[in-house]
Amino acid sequence: MSKKTGEVILDLQSISLRFGGVKALTDISFDVREHEIRAIIGPNGAGKSSMLNVINGVYHPQEGVIIFRGQERKRMEPHQAATQGIARTFQNIALFKGMSVLDNIMTGRITRMKASFIEHALWLGRAKREELEHRKKVEEVIDFLEIQHIRRIPVGRLPYGLQKRVELGRALAAEPSMLLLDEPMAGMNVEEKQDMCRFILDVNDQFGTTIVLIEHDMGVVMDISDRVVVLDYGKKIGDGLPDDVKNNEDVITAYLGVSH
């Protein structure tokens, strides 16, 4: 790919994460550069989702250092990661089922809304103004993802592919500098996958958002990502350009097994 990737903005150094006696991640180090699409791949249970959970503060690793934008952080709560500009989607859709598409995406901008509940109750100047300003931004996201026709529908009633798209919308509404996508294309048909790929590439291209992506569809991964990390049983077994990873012995063994 010809596009320029920038400085390292996220640096993970020897991360280890345990749940009791289970080692989810062991001594994993890799970095993410600005503007790149970084894929994390690996067989089921390799620790990919745990890795994302470590990055945005849902899990706290026992060992290791995380440096985000030059700042080392020890222990961080998810909402702090959100205010620093890290947004994410989930493997199993985690939308707010009882709310409309519009409200779900509006919720994505919550860290930028400053009015207090008393201003909301009285519907005073700032509360009203904020609703309108952020609505405008949210409508841009809705236009971008081409979901204008469903904005009033409660997300629980939408088909799976659209729910995935709305979830991406909620993450985008926060205008994140880094976007973590956990299997954004799982369970989609070819057409939906193509749409989703296009959105991911457009987000990366137009907004300059750095993307960390977990995906099982190797065709997609090799096509859109700039660099790939391969995990297996909580250990890193490969890291590099898509083509290098494809030909890596360990990776082939992990995916296909060894011939006896």
């Binding site: 709560e77 939308l95 707010f96 709310m99 009285l122 309108l132």
Partner: protein
């Protein structure tokens, strides 16, 4: 044909986000307000005011409070009556102990007192959820009622904790007749309902609903769970507290701690379940159903029995009344588990297309 929004184009987000975006709804609500503020005070009798309308409004407010906590923020609570008791006793004590405090100020202070205690009993919600939280709020129910009986200072050393409320005087005008009390309660309830609606349609409400629907996702997009949950407890208890103060001052005139029993908390919970969990309108519909249906059956059943010539004694009729009431609750829950508010919404959607099927 009557309820169609075709031709009403929105050209700004402000127009799209207003309280009632559809013109027919705006006209409807204006008519409703005109009726309850201008027509009803002229035509209803004292019995209607003091036995039906005032308690209906007060319980609607309490149900609204519980709906904010349970329906919007998803925190199940069984302590609503106790927070009403806090409001009633706090308003009484503010009136008693602070010279010349205006009655409305003491109502607000009563709400704030209830809010403070609500936050305290909301703390367990930071660690436990669902039914386990409901059990924790049961503690509030029993503890508060016990406190009010145990510490005679709170009821100014009256026997068995009974308090008789001070006269309702606002700006030198004494609210004594049921009609005046009705208008006072109506105004307070209308203002608080509007405030609640504003909260739930803004980011405060979205944060509550986000916590209700998926708390992990809520925290990942930047919502801090602790303040959001505690705010829901505070606002909910504030509403219940004001409802309690009105219950004592405008409805009964004298109350005792045991009046605010678990039974009453359950009735408020039933109101929001029947009316619609997570709906402002539902709180009113549910209160109407639970409070007014028995009154209606009281009148309708003996009349029906006479009409059909059935030899029912009045005791039998009151048994049948309980049966019919229970059956109707079950019927509504089976037909529409999301409550009367959902039925109303479906009706509106149907009306938009009527008389065409699609």
């Amino acid at each position: 044909m009557l309820y169609r929004e075709a031709g009403q184009f929105k050209t700004s987000y402000a127009a799209d986000q207003q309280l009632f975006p559809i013109r027919q709804d705006r006209i409807g609500i204006l008519i409703l307000l005109a009726v309850v503020f201008l027509v009803i005070p002229g035509v209803a009798g004292d019995y209607w005011f003091s036995a039906i309308l005032i308690p209906f409004l007060i319980f609607s407010l309490a149900a609204l409070g519980l709906n904010i906590l349970t329906g919007y923020a998803g925190q199940l609570s069984l302590g609503s009556a106790a927070f009403m008791a806090v409001g009633a006793y706090a308003a009484y004590n503010f009136q008693l102990r602070i010279d010349g405090i205006p009655i409305l100020v003491s109502f607000v202070c009563a709400g704030l007192t209830a809010a403070g205690i609500g936050i305290l009993f909301g703390l367990p919600s930071l660690w436990i959820k669902g039914f386990y939280l409901a059990v924790a709020t049961l503690a509030a129910q029993f503890f508060i009622v016990w406190c009010l009986t145990k510490f005679p200072w709170l009821s100014n050393y009256s026997s068995s904790g009974v308090i008789s409320t001070q006269p309702l005087i606002i700006f030198g005008h004494a609210f004594t007749s049921p009609q005046e009390k009705y208008l006072l309660v109506l105004t307070i309830v209308a203002v608080m309902a509007l405030a609640a609606k504003n909260m739930v349609r803004s980011s405060t409400g979205r944060a509550w609903m986000a916590v209700r629907d998926m708390d992990v996702a809520a925290s990942v997009i930047g919502i801090r769970l602790m303040p959001v949950k505690l705010l829901a407890f505070a606002v909910s208890s504030f509403y219940c507290g004001v409802a309690g103060a009105l219950y004592a001052f405008c409805y009964l005139g004298s109350v005792e701690p045991d009046g605010f029993s678990l039974d009453m908390s359950f009735r408020i919970l039933f109101m929001i379940i029947i009316g619609g969990v997570g709906s402002i309108l539902g709180s009113f519909l549910g209160a109407a159903f639970i409070l007014l249906l028995p009154v209606f059956l009281d009148i309708a059943l003996p009349w029906a029995a006479r009409l059909l010539g059935l030899p029912f004694s009045s005791a039998t009729v009151s048994h049948i009344q309980v049966l019919v009431f229970g059956a109707l609750i079950m019927f509504f829950l089976i037909v529409e588990p999301h409550g009367l508010a959902r039925l109303w919404q479906i009706t509106k959607e149907k009306l938009r297309l009527w008389p065409f099927p699609h």
